[in-house]
Amino acid sequence: MLETKANPNISKSTGLPRKRFYRARAHSNPLSDSHFPVPISPSHVDYSLHYPHFFPSSDQSDSSKKIQFADIGCGFGGLLISLSTLFPETLMIGMELRDKVTEYVKERILALRVANPGQNQNISVTRTNSMKYIPNYFEKGQLSKMFFLFPDPHFKEKNHRRRVISTHLLDEYAYALGVGGIIYTITDVEELGEWMKACLESHPMFEALTEKELEADPVVELLSSATEEGQKVARNGGQTFRAVYRRVTPPL
């Protein structure tokens, strides 16, 4: 998956991939079927390709380490890179629908690994439609954090079912998250912010974090500052709307 080779799209001066070679359509339609490989089940995810430092051979049986954080619609990968050093022993993956953007993130991670030996070994990215294939990547209760930062708003009523947060999709996220796991959402679109909050609030398997808990969580401040989209909003002085919820056992 992540392979090293001489790449003309990588800037000679910084060693980092140049974004202009990875320009892509602004929005992808998650409903249309694209063709990318999908792991048959979580045990088919090849950890040695994603995290060669932690899994030197493709034989996974020697380690029980599993991916714990998922950044859904990771875009250009800014959040993963910030989290990588904050939680150096935690495996995390970005899931991204656009192939060019995914390629960019791959190159970016590889370049960082070369530039900072021993670092950024715990992050990777995969091209997939998270609305369909989460169960193919993660076992029940495997994740402890899921991120949905600045997702596509899909304003029109008839396109609401394309939104990456919905009651039905929350059922799947609740399955992938262990009890106590946290789902982080943020947007600069007020209407979407209210939508995400309402979906989470009415779901029997999620409960809002208190203000105190939010203050104590070092990840919360990254939500608005770590990603490319977040930085853009901040530059333009835009408002953001956040909803952070914990996975709980449903009441009987």
Binding site: I40, T167, D171
Partner: protein, 342 residues
């Protein structure tokens, strides 16, 4: 037996699967967008004119086609299968109208669309085991509480259907239907390309599936598309059906055949001797057949066309098409939802 239509529900999208809860209080159905709806039958009074009860969304497979819905024998779970190779096991909640949010497991392992589901249960294993059939020509046995795959039976290969029937190189014969025989651990499997039915036996203590018998039906190209066992008489009823046949007098075909011998006493797979009944031997005889099929005689060429039509319809609906890059771009440009925008 008498059925009466005591209530009508309508759905905006085509319905692809239906299941009635074991206590008879809820009916669930899936639409073409992957949403499973539930209707509460509890307060429906069959003698009264109906208050039109509304269906509520209960769960969804995001934008997939749901092919089968089944309740577990103990009624605790509802199982849904889709064209994206996936089987979802959901806790059937106390108040299903508020949604079924708690996913017990996903059963993952099929490498093509999942076409059918059934439960095998006995008095020793009342909670039962799930079996599934797929476009990948296999039948699989699952533990639904963990989602783990217990066994895989390559029906097409093991039943020796490969050489004799394969036309195109890489086309699998899809499993089209599964039917468990009541009170026993045998499963009748309908598979495209077989004139007849494959009987699998399921060893619940060893958790394995194996082929017990291939029952072929001589004399006509009868490839069943669905089958049901009757509880008392030890009979397996099979239907080969298709609608929209082009170029024939009859636009649709239904042919019914019956196999006997499924009596409790002789269900040892070794000794079991199934008999394919002649039309005049089936309960109800020609009269019933005439009612069910529309006519008693069906021409051979109609059978062949029907088998082909079923195959095409199934793969058109459920198999993902592989387009070349150019063709894909073209399809994107001409997509309907784009057109309306302009």
């Amino acid at each position: 037996m008498k059925f009466s239509n005591f209530s009508n529900r309508s759905s905006e999208k085509r319905v692809t699967a239906v299941a009635l809860s074991n206590d008879g209080l809820h009916v669930c159905f899936a639409d073409k967008f992957g949403v499973v709806w539930v209707v509460d039958l509890d307060s429906v009074d069959s003698n009264q004119a109906l208050v039109n009860k509304k269906a509520a969304q209960m769960l969804a497979h995001y934008c997939s086609i749901i092919t089968s819905l089944e309740f577990s024998p103990d009624g605790r779970f509802i199982v849904s299968a889709d064209r994206d190779f996936k089987i979802r096991v959901t806790v059937f909640p106390k108040k299903p109208l508020d949604g079924a949010h708690e996913i017990q497991s996903f059963c993952l392992g099929h490498t093509e669309f999942v076409s059918c589901l059934a439960f095998v249960s006995t008095s020793e294993y009342p909670q039962g085991f799930l079996v599934s059939g797929s476009g990948d020509s296999t039948v699989r046995l699952w533990n639904i509480s963990s989602g783990s795959l217990l066994d895989t039976c390559e029906v097409e290969m093991k039943a020796g259907l490969l050489e004799s029937n394969r036309r195109g190189e890489d086309c699998n014969s899809a499993i089209t239907d599964l039917c468990t025989i009541p009170d026993c651990t045998m499963i009748a499997v309908a598979i495209q390309s077989l004139q007849g039915i494959v009987l699998l036996s399921c060893d619940l203590s060893a958790r394995t599936l194996s082929i017990a018998k291939v029952v072929s039906i001589m004399g006509e190209t009868f490839i069943p598309t669905s089958s049901r066992a009757s509880f008392s008489a030890g009979l397996l009823w099979m239907v080969s059906g298709v609608s929209n046949l082009r170029g024939f007098d009859h636009h649709s075909l239904a042919r019914v055949r019956v196999i006997s011998g499924f009596n409790k006493s002789n269900l040892d797979p070794q000794e079991f001797e199934p008999i394919v009944l002649e039309d005049n031997e089936i309960p109800g005889g020609y009269k019933l057949l005439e009612k069910l099929q529309g006519s008693v005689v069906v021409e051979e060429k109609v059978f062949l066309a029907a088998a082909e039509a079923v195959k095409t319809a199934m793969s058109n609906l459920l198999v993902k098409k592989q387009y070349s890059v150019e063709k894909r771009e073209f399809r994107k440009r001409t997509r309907n939802d784009r057109k309306t925008k302009q």
